[in-house]
Amino acid sequence: MRRRFLKQAVIAPLALAGTGNAAASRQGSAPLRLGLTPVFLVQRARLLEQWRGYLGNAIGRPVEFVLRGSYQEITTLLLSGRVDAAWICEYPFVRHDDALRLLAAPIYRGEPNYRAYLIVPRDDDTTDWIEDLSGRLFAFSDPDSLSGYKLPRYWLREGGRDPDAFFARSILTWSHRNSIRAVADRLVDGASVDGYVWDMLERISPEVTARTRVVLRSRPYGFPPIVTPAGLSLRTSHRLREAFLAMADEPDGQLILEALGLDGFAAVEPSLYDDVRAIADVMEA
């Protein structure tokens, strides 16, 4: 049993690589590597596979998704050019926007914005604001996440609190989805998460979100964008952007967008993230 399992585990990546190689030899080029972070539900493997196929067809070149445990790792790969593009949180983007090129941003509920949600367990009906959670347990998603880390700490700093001493204990869950679960299981007393992820999870696993209560929806911030290293060839960059932008017009693309819960992708100006930049300036000071 264990042997067979090991065998499959070994074969599966080979098979994936095999198809990738076949496509590569057909197209006569190496696959395009696209880094993904948990700014959305990266657990949905079937959806990712459909999307990968779609993008590969659209740009006429195989696409390979690169997943890592933290935002930091993807950012490092991006800055060193070991991935050709990535869907990252807007906070690392504004921190490194001199080395990155903004490709597109998702359109969610009609605009390229999302909100951060402050959530607590369902049976907590007293908490109104993050400062009510003083001396409690809190879950952050990733140290490079705006909604899952920087923003709640920013709120505390704005309120004159020391974010490092405010909670009795804070943990890192490495994804918004885990933070939602940590609150739902009452492992922690609160968390700040990407509102888009919470909405999506409510659609897929309502029994988890039902155990949480959204205390606060933040003002809108620019949605985590698709970026490429500044050094990526303009041709590739252009083809990739076109592929994303065209998704809303293609039936296959619409199916994927529907599954992602997005309206589409749009070209946006870097100024969309000025608010985030302002926060980053405060937090890094």
Binding site: L137, A139, A168, R169, I171, L172, T173, W174, N178, A182, D185, R186, L187, V188
Partner: protein
């Protein structure tokens, strides 16, 4: 309980068998449950240690990196399986605070474990000691097994290069035994019921078999309260066991009681007969003296007086009447005078000649079974009279074309004779007074002894008694037999 004691063995024995079956089933089930309890406990600890071994390995890095979420996911995963058994996993830091638990709503992280109930209070104490051992060297990483009131605990250290990072506590509820216990109990219940269904009729049958001889014995003894029951009335158990011995003793007791009863009856009857004999002899003597006088007077008057024809008739009448009284009285006063010779074959042939006409009148068949071919030392006259009386009685009693039987022989110094016939048998109540005088008259039946007004058997009895012999009557439907035994007499006149 009194009710149980009063119950017949017929029910007591199967009931006891049933109780025995139930007790056996209960004790076997109990033994299985105890061993099952032990097994489950061993299994819990063994699988708990295996799980703890895997988890502590996996947890080492997350704990070192202070990664609560990954630790949480690692301990949650196996406990979410339905067959996990454990209902709580905890990681505790060396200060005995909860690093993370699989049920954060029950056991919050950062809390000291001792606040989570008495069981954890004791565990905290035990762990202080254990942690010292674990920290002392890599060879001391044995997991702890703890049995508390409601739970089993397996506690294993998370060690990194000999440094104690924390401990993993797995908690198993004790009531996880229950479903298995209930299942075993139910199965045992069904098997017991099956065995009972099988054994109850069997033990019922055995009980009946064992109890039946006792019940029969009890019934037989109950009958003996009123009278001694006949052999055929009691169904007694034959064997060499205690019950068989008891039955045999009872039977022996009944036999001797019956014998005693018969003897008493016989004694009463012969005493009565003796009294009657004495009374009769007394009356006869008293009557005979005046009677002789009266007869002499009549005779004298006849010889010397002149009598008118009328006086003649009167005297004749008186004389006949007195003669009849004399005959009757002399019949009562039987005397077996040892006159004449001893009994020889000729005497017996004479008897045959005398009774044959009476037998032939009935068309009956007389079996003459005589084993005497020479003189026998008994007086001929009274024995002849006895033979004639008995044979004539028998030929009266025998039915048309019936069977008559005479057996006569000398045996062991006695003359044994028996006269039997197949006529109507004599009822028991009559048998007792058979030999008393005037019985036929009293009973209102016909005379058995040829017109001598019921004196035949009385005379026979008196003769046999005077010859110091014994007379018995046995009468059952279809056969009546009178047997007489007379001791032989020798030259000195005495008997042997």
């Amino acid at each position: 309980m009194l009710l149980m004691r009063d119950l017949s063995f017929r029910y007591k024995i199967p009931l006891r068998a049933a109780v025995l079956v139930v007790v056996t089933a209960l004790s076997v089930t109990g033994a299985i449950l105890v061993s099952e309890y032990d097994n489950v406990r061993k299994t819990v600890f063994a699988s708990g240690e295996t799980l703890a071994g895997v988890l502590t390995e996996t947890l080492r890095e997350p704990i070192r990196h202070d990664d609560v979420w990954r630790s949480y996911e690692i301990i949650r995963a196996p406990l979410d399986l339905p067959e996990a058994g454990a209902n709580l996993a905890l990681i505790v830091d060396p200060l005995q605070r909860v690093f993370v638990s699989s049920r954060p709503d029950e056991v919050r992280m950062q809390t000291p474990i001792s606040v989570h109930g008495q069981e954890f209070e004791r565990i905290a104490d035990v762990m202080v000691e254990a942690e010292r051992g674990w920290a002392s060297g890599p060879e001391n990483s044995e997991a702890l097994r703890i049995v508390e009131a409601d739970h089993y605990y397996v506690i294993a250290p998370v060690l990194a290069d000999g440094l104690l990072l924390g401990s993993l506590i797995l908690r198993y509820p004790k009531d996880m035994h229950w479903p298995r216990f209930i299942e075993i109990g139910q199965r045992a219940g069904w098997i017991t019921l099956g065995v009972l269904l099988l054994l109850l009729p069997l033990s019922w049958f055995w009980g009946q078999r064992m109890a039946q001889p006792m019940v029969d014995l009890a019934q037989c003894i109950r009958k003996a309260g009123r009278r001694i029951p006949e052999e055929s009335e009691c169904r007694l158990y034959e064997s060499e066991d205690e019950l068989g011995q008891l039955s045999r003793r009872l039977r022996e007791m009944f036999v001797s009681l019956r014998e005693k009863e018969a003897l008493e009856r016989q004694m009463m009857s012969s005493e009565r007969l003796a009294a009657i004999g004495r009374l009769a002899a007394g009356i006869a003597h008293e009557v005979n003296n005046p009677l002789g006088g009266m007869l002499n007077a009549i005779s004298t008057h006849r010889r010397h007086g002149e009598m008118s024809p009328r006086t003649e008739r009167t005297l004749d009448m008186l004389e006949r009447g007195l003669a009849q009284i004399r005959d009757t009285v002399s019949a009562l006063l039987v005397e077996a005078r040892p006159e004449g010779g001893l009994l020889g074959p000729d005497d017996i042939n004479d008897v045959r000649m005398l009774v044959l006409p009476a037998v032939q009148r009935k068309g009956a068949n007389l079996r003459w079974d005589v084993e005497i071919d020479s003189t026998v030392a008994v007086p001929a006259t009274p024995v002849r009279q006895v033979l004639i009386n008995l044979l004539l009685n028998a030929s009266q009693a025998v039915g048309e074309r019936g069977q008559l039987h005479l057996r006569l022989r000398e045996y062991a110094g006695r003359l044994e004779l028996a006269v039997g016939n197949d006529g109507d048998h004599i009822p028991a109540e009559r048998l007792e007074r058979l030999f008393e005088p005037f019985q036929d008259v009293i009973d209102g039946g016909g005379t058995l002894d040829g017109g001598r007004q019921g004196m035949g058997l009385w005379i026979t009895y008196q003769i046999v008694r005077q010859l110091e012999g014994r007379i018995d009557v046995e009468s059952r439907p279809g056969w009546t037999e009178v047997s007489v035994s007379i001791p032989l007499q020798y030259a000195d006149g005495g008997t042997q």
